[in-house]
Amino acid sequence: MAASAKVRVPATAKKGEVIEIKTQVQHEMESGQRKDAAGKAIPRQIINKFVCKYNGAEVFASDWHPAISANPYLSFFITATESGKIEFFWTDDKGEVTKAEAEIKVS
């Protein structure tokens, strides 16, 4: 199944307000530590990198290891500085990138 992602970003905020961002991406996060029924190791295939950009500038990032549960959920905070676009990128072991974005109005 193609990875699908969702984000929760407030639609509006006051300048300087610290806002909570919630994200979740659908992914099995295959750890590389499991074996199939025949005893063969199942190759690792996880999302290893998450990046959040605010109008193009990286404001938060995270590196993930196989210990992150399937369908990774992550919440964090950023400061609302100006209106514009907040983008989210999840990169897996194969280099595939899942993207999501949200608009925010800052007054």
């Binding site: 610290v18 806002i19 750890s31 530590q33 074996k35 605010y54 500038a57 990286e58 404001v59 938060f60 990032a61 995270s62 590196d63 993930w64 290891h65 196989p66 210990a67 992150i68 549960s69 399937a70 990774p72 959920y73 992550l74 919440s75 964090f76 905070f77 950023i78 400061t79 500085t81």
Partner: protein, 158 residues
């Protein structure tokens, strides 16, 4: 039992899968302490990320359940006390699970624009163990919080 022998046992048990997990749960029920096989690995992983800076207590809070309902999905949060200004902010948060096959859980790179140093995620834990959260501040200081979490293995939910 020496630490090494216990370590060997643990690995053998894990290799034999389901039956092993049951036996392991049986051992736990008899009061055997969980092996800390990865403690040395964990030290190395910490050094790699934070260097040789002295690690202090305080400033960082790790929120974890005391008992994980299931080791496959354990919610956790980390909060670091910081003004998050250009001059004084949290540069990074690292989370380690000392008793997992590999100790690294996640690292977070923050900026003054993060506003607040607080994150929440969900992790996998292989057994009862210590979780460590480490914060690296913009002035190079390093703070750590540690908590033990019990993980049940071999039950209906485990």
């Amino acid at each position: 039992m020496t630490d090494l022998a216990r370590d060997m046992d643990r690995r053998t048990l894990i290799k034999v899968g389901g039956a092993g997990a049951l036996a392991l749960a049986g051992l736990a029920a008899l009061g055997a302490r969980p092996a800390r096989a990865a403690a040395a690995d964990s030290e190395a992983a910490v050094k790699k990320l934070v260097g040789n800076a002295p690690i202090k207590d305080g400033k960082i809070t790790l929120k974890l359940p005391q008992i994980a309902e299931n080791g496959n999905t354990v919610p956790f949060s980390v909060v670091v006390d910081s003004p998050m200004t250009e001059k004084d902010y949290v540069k990074a948060i690292h989370v380690f699970a000392d008793g997992n096959p590999s100790p690294g859980v996640a690292s977070f790179t923050l900026t003054p624009r993060s506003g607040k140093a607080e994150i929440s995620m969900r992790m996998r834990l292989a057994q009862t163990q210590d979780i460590r959260a480490i914060a690296v501040m913009s002035d190079g200081q390093v703070f750590m919080a540690k908590q033990e979490i019990k993980v049940t293995i071999g039950g209906c939910g485990g």
